[in-house]
């Protein structure tokens, strides 16, 4: 496969679609599929045929607005229909070329206009199971350009220049990591894509893998060329069957097109990728634990150094990046590192995908430039808290992140700013809570999660999370004392500073941040035996001495 051949495929695919007057795009991500968008697509295709229209019906990936699914986008008029079902197919096809159907139309200009799509540029646009669709949207151009016109060092330079930082949550500079692996000596090197999206409430990686799998594979191939690796693994959760199926199909297609395998693009570069299924362990998102899991062992982390960049999978130099990090690579190579660095804030460049969920009107996936304020994401893009309830907190970073109150909403979203206020960027889950959520209970929920997910290797995490859970349960039951609060703070400090891996080091974050910003709720629970949100079952009021 050469660039010329790639152009031919792109040209032919575009010409094929140009034959049609209009296109109907039906979202077939997990969210919309659960509302039978597959049946909707079949019905639409049938109607197009019955009504004799020259229209193409396409299966696409996630369009972002999961709560309003199934979504249908009519091109080129850009009419978006929400909650479209099989029974609407006839009317939708009939309305083509005429007036759109008012009842179904989704008009959320504010939701979409504030977003900048880099990672999600093809999501909801291309058919994720057709490699030619991806090629028609500049797919694999970056890989072949890198192979023919750039040195491995040149690729790393572009990535470094872009200022891209690891999107899994740690925020380690990607260019620096690539440089370390490239310099490491070893006959074999590996590239691993971390798709073990364990954070409950986050689904960015699932969506990218389902909507645009080829982009991740291309990113991995470019990384492999840059660091000198010949084999790759994608580690995906077994809970994401659709993502796994689409990845498998994509790998097969890429091999068939000669974009994976031996001598890619008629160069000496050879690279192939295998899928490894996770088996439901949150700790496997930690890189050394993930490596242990690929090796077929219990997913327990190892002390670092040595870092995987030097001694990783089977003791060989290994590059591990998150799905979203790899998804950013192809556009960076195509448009240059400078272009990417032009977006975002001072030390956090580019865009970030967030999974906006919880008590918010427009739940779903959004991609925004770094540095945008939390308030803008929640109130403008997210449409605010529904049903007349009052905003209480937003939780970023999953069980490792913190809960931020209303007063913190004006900070710009970036790795450093979030860390400074006691939360983390994390992989991009953003859960909004309203006045029906009890913050003590939420803290207990997260600690319970970390307690069950702790692998048990190091004591601070194994025993510390269990003790924290016991203390928080005691407060939730109305038996807490003010001394318990001090004990909790002390224990959080120990767990945070002495745990082996990221799981333990960040597990106290939800507790510490709720203690910092919602201390009055803890005090309410302890002194007044009262849960203002009405979540915790307290002992009867009269037991409190007057």
């Amino acid at each position: 496969m050469t660039i010329e051949e790639l152009d031919q495929i792109a040209e032919a695919t575009r010409a094929e679609y140009a034959k049609y007057d209009q296109e109907i795009n039906v979202c077939m991500g997990t969210g919309c599929l659960s509302q039978h968008s597959d049946q909707l697509k079949d019905a639409l295709a049938k109607q197009v045929e019955a009504q004799g229209k020259n229209v193409f019906v396409r299966r696409t990936g996630c369009m972002g607005l999961c709560a309003a699914g199934p979504l249908v986008l009519v091109d080129p008029d850009e009419i978006l229909y929400q909650q479209a079902h099989e029974k609407h197919a006839e009317a939708i096809v009939k309305s083509l070329g005429g007036e759109p159907i008012k009842e179904l139309q989704c008009d959320l200009r504010e939701h979409f206009d504030q977003q900048v799509h880099v990672v999600l540029e093809n999501s909801g646009v291309i058919d994720p199971e057709k490699i030619d669709d991806y090629i028609a949207h500049d797919g694999y151009r970056a890989l072949l350009t890198a192979l023919s016109d750039m040195t491995p060092n040149g690729v790393i330079r572009q990535v470094t220049e872009s200022g891209l930082r690891g999107r899994g949550g740690g925020g380690y500079p990607t260019g620096l990591k690539w440089g370390t692996v490239a310099k490491a000596t070893g006959d074999i090197k590996y590239v691993i894509c971390n798709g073990d999206e364990g954070d409950p409430g986050a689904f960015m990686d699932r969506s990218v893998l389902e909507s645009d799998p080829q982009r991740v594979i291309e990113g991995m191939a470019i990384a492999a060329y840059a660091v000198g690796a010949s084999r790759g693994y994608i580690y995906v959760r077994a809970e994401y069957p659709l993502a796994v199926a689409r990845l498998q199909a994509s790998l097969r297609d890429a091999r068939r097109r000669g974009l994976l395998g031996n001598n890619i693009g008629n160069t000496p570069f050879s690279f192939d990728v295998e899928i490894r299924l996770g088996a439901g362990a949150f700790v496997c998102g930690e890189e050394t634990a993930l490596i242990a899991s690929i090796e077929g062992r219990r997913g327990m982390p190892k002390p670092r150094p040595p870092y995987p960049a030097v001694s990783g999978l089977w003791g060989k130099p290994t590059l591990i990046n998150n799905v979203e990090t790899f998804a950013n690579i192809a556009p960076i190579i195509r448009k240059g590192g400078k272009w990417f660095a032009g977006m975002g804030s001072d030390r956090s460049k580019g865009t970030k995908v967030f999974a906006l969920t919880g008590k918010i009107t427009n739940t779903g996936l959004v991609e925004v430039p770094m540095g945008i304020s939390l308030r803008q994401i929640i109130e403008v893009i997210g449409g605010g808290v529904p049903d007349g309830h009052k905003f209480k907190a937003v939780q970023t970073g999953g069980p490792s992140g913190g809960c931020l109150p209303e007063s913190m909403l004006d900070i710009g979203v970036s790795y450093d700013a979030l860390l400074k206020v006691g939360s983390i960027m994390g992989s991009g889950g953003m859960i909004v809570m309203d006045d029906t959520s009890c913050m003590v209970n939420v803290a207990k929920f997260f600690i319970e999660f970390c307690m069950t997910e702790s692998c048990g290797k190091c004591i601070p995490c194994r025993a510390g999370t269990a003790q924290l859970h016991a203390l928080l349960s005691k407060i939730c039951a109305g038996n807490g004392t003010m001394e318990d609060l001090e004990l909790i703070e002390d224990l959080c400090d120990t767990v945070k500073n002495s745990s082996l891996c990221g799981l333990g080091q960040t597990a106290p974050n939800p507790v510490l941040s709720t203690l910092k910003y919602f201390r009055n709720e803890y005090i309410d629970h302890i002194l007044h035996k009262r849960c203002t949100a009405g979540v915790c079952n307290m002992k009867a009021e009269e037991e409190v001495p007057a």
Binding site: C66, G201, Y240, L277, G278, E295, R298, G299, G358, T363
Partner: protein, 165 residues
């Protein structure tokens, strides 16, 4: 050193051939342990002692290590599932929207707690850690099929339908 011969298949059950196929595809390498266990679970629905012993011997992995791996990962089950499975998502987004109440209600209705199966082997109740469909919270899986924006009435209705069938 004599060449290694894998142990014979535990029975004539055709599913063992699928399991063996996974191991052969990976050249009976030790690191194929988790892959193989996935195949066993998807073929048989759960992992029993015979299966773990067979896989461990075939891959030359100590039995203790194989058992350790099985118990470490939540996805693997040592008990046979019921005819139907109700899986309730307990991820954060679903929790905020009240799946803790759904879970409690299902436990009360079936008289079992999560991870258990009713005495007649009909319905299993499970809790999942986020299935990644948070936009549709609260989410449950009825026999693996994702249902979003679940209400208590709908869930109980489904459980009753299974109980009759």
């Amino acid at each position: 050193m004599p060449a290694f011969t894998p142990p014979p298949l535990p029975s004539d059950d055709k599913r063992w051939k699928i399991v063996n196929g996974t191991m052969r595809k990976n050249g009976f390498a030790r690191h194929a342990l988790i892959e193989t266990l996935h195949t066993v679970q998807s073929s048989f629905g759960y992992l029993d002692d015979d299966a773990i012993r067979f896989v461990a011997q075939s891959l030359r992995v100590p039995l203790s290590q194989a058992y350790g791996v099985v118990t470490f990962y939540h996805y693997f089950s040592l008990k046979p599932p019921g005819k139907h499975t109700m899986t309730i998502c307990t991820g954060t987004a679903c929790y905020i929207k009240g799946t803790d109440k759904l879970l409690a209600s299902a436990e009360k209705h079936l008289g079992i707690s999560q991870g258990q199966t009713t005495q007649d082997g009909n319905i299993s109740l499970a809790a999942a850690r986020c299935v990644g469909a948070c936009g549709r919270a609260p989410v449950v899986l009825t026999d693996g099929e994702l249902v979003g924006q679940m209400t208590n009435e709908h869930m109980i209705e489904q459980l009753e339908r299974w109980a009759v069938a």
